[in-house]
């Protein structure tokens, strides 16, 4: 009896220690991730924040970021959805290579992506020299910002869409066909609605990645206020000249990023388990 009571006490102590260790671990990881974010908010007063947010440089960077990111998102969805559909449905020679190129921007340093784009579309680049002869300049324009964002952020959507289209049970599409639906109608009324929540998650992640793009943009598009200076670039400039400017834009980016992640979580929660 005494031995059982002793073992029970030992088990209880061990469990308490396990809980304590788990609690410390969770708190440590959370604090490591949250404290730097908190530090941004604590370093600036609300008055300073609201004064700085009216700075033309902040407003300009905010609009350029939102404008370019929205265009990027539209292009990635419009081109990426049919691309991912065909890519997942058909086998063709070199498919593995295409898959590798889709994944490449995820592991490639963004600065390298910027250099690569510059080597292709720059004034003396492989294609850029011909565009230049026609009077079209791509590098160091707002278009270059969008192209850099598409290059770096599109894999988030393409990978997600590809995997969704591969996973959907072909029986749904086959049934739709036998019921008289054309391939296009099947795609629009069956495949896309059944993968919609996953596609939206991919799109939101793409938006977030494009919004935070820095390396490829500064290499390929430069840092021209009002033309190519996006919010991350303005943070970089602000930290060198005006700390509050950097902090204000950082806070805006934290809020937008947080909202994006929250949106993804909510969408994933609502995701149809039958899809």
């Amino acid at each position: 009896m005494i031995a059982i009571a002793k073992r029970f006490r030992q088990d209880k102590t061990r469990r308490k220690l396990a809980y304590l260790a788990a609690g410390i671990l969770i708190a440590a990881v959370t604090l490591y991730l949250a404290l730097p974010i908190l530090a941004i908010f604590l370093r600036i007063t609300p008055e300073q924040f609201f004064t700085t947010i009216q700075n033309p440089q902040v407003i300009s960077a905010l609009w350029i970021s939102l404008f370019t990111t929205c265009i990027t998102l539209v292009v990635v969805i419009a081109v990426g959805t049919p691309f991912a559909y065909f890519h997942s449905r058909y086998s063709y020679p070199g498919k593995v290579i295409v898959d590798t190129f889709i994944d490449l921007p995820l592991v490639l340093p963004p600065a390298v992506a910027g250099v690569a784009l510059l080597m292709l579309y720059g004034r003396v680049g492989l294609l850029g020299q011909y565009f230049n002869m026609l009077g079209i300049q791509i590098a160091f324009t707002t278009l270059a910002v969008i192209m850099a964002q598409i290059f770096v952020a599109s894999p988030f959507y393409l990978r997600q869409a590809k995997s969704l289209f591969e996973q959907i049970d072909p029986a749904y599409e086959q049934t739709a066909r036998t019921l008289g639906a054309s391939p296009l109608r099947t795609l629009v009324s069956v495949t896309l609605p059944m993968t919609a929540s996953g596609l939206v998650s991919g799109a939101v992640m793409t938006f977030g990645r494009a919004l935070g793009e820095f390396g490829a943009t500064i290499m390929f598009a430069g840092n021209l206020p009002g033309v190519t200076q996006t919010m991350p670039l303005a943070v970089y400039v602000g930290m060198e000249s005006n700390l509050f400017l950097g902090l204000t834009i950082s806070i805006l980016l934290v809020i937008i990023s947080f909202a994006i992640m929250l949106a993804v979580r909510l969408i994933q929660k609502r995701e149809d388990p039958h899809a």
Partner: protein, 234 residues
């Protein structure tokens, strides 16, 4: 009437089969997994391309490999209930049943609504009209799939393992409904199953496939309990 001659090279063997199903007749296609049952249905439905085939429905040729005739799946008007029923989970029961009527085009909205309501009534799913199909039970899904397939006024009904995931009561209901409407509409019907009881209860005729070849054909109750080819039912 369905008349089909099909040849298709599969991974381990060749599917080589001739089938005839009369109007109002239910042919049960039996055989072990991988014997070529689902492939046969997919070829007839136009979802899989055969190597060589001549398929006609009510005298109209829908596939003739040598003549280069190949009517696409969406134009064959074949009601096909695939495995796991494949009801569209994001749509309501009403939208599922009306899907084929809308997809075919040319039918006024009111007529679509009327026909969908009639089929839901006949399949005893009218009270589920506004329920999202993803939330239905297996038996309910199967009745939705059957209503959806019959609503297009098919020239042929095909069902692939329709009773696999159903309990005894649902199985009986789906069997009764299938028999009733196949007889009433006088359409040929093929049901794929691997259970002997299903074949005797629903089938007018049974055909046993083994390694892509017809091993036995006749009245289900007279089916031998062994397989002379690969001994799969010994």
């Amino acid at each position: 009437m369905l008349e089909a001659q099909i040849i298709k090279k599969l991974r381990d063997y060749s599917l080589d089969l001739s089938l005839t199903v009369r109007p109002g007749e239910i042919l049960v296609l039996m055989g072990i997994n991988g014997s070529g049952k689902s492939t046969t249905l997919n070829i007839i439905a136009g979802l899989t391309e055969p190597d060589l085939a001549v398929i006609s429905l009510n005298g109209e040729c829908i596939c003739h490999s040598q003549a280069g005739t190949y009517v696409p799946a969406e134009e064959r008007r074949i009601g096909y209930v695939l495995q796991n029923s494949a009801v569209f989970p994001h749509m309501t029961v009403r939208d599922n049943v009306a899907f084929g009527l809308r997809a075919r085009g040319g039918i006024p909205r009111q007529e679509i609504a009327k026909q969908a309501a009639r089929w839901m009534e006949q399949m005893h799913i009218a009270d589920l009209a506004e329920v999202r199909a993803g939330n239905l039970s297996g038996g309910q899904k199967q009745r939705v799939a059957l209503a959806r397939a019959l609503a297009i006024g098919p020239r042929l009904l095909m069902m692939d393992e329709p009773f696999t995931a159903l309990d005894t009561e649902s199985t009986q209901t789906v069997k009764d409904l299938t028999r009733r409407f196949v007889k009433a509409m006088q359409i040929p019907c093929i049901v794929v199953t691997h259970r002997l009881t299903d074949s005797t209860e629903i089938g007018d005729r049974a055909c046993v496939l083994c390694n892509g070849k017809k091993e036995w054909e006749g009245v289900p109750s007279e089916m031998p309990g062994f397989c002379s080819v690969c001994h799969c039912r010994d």
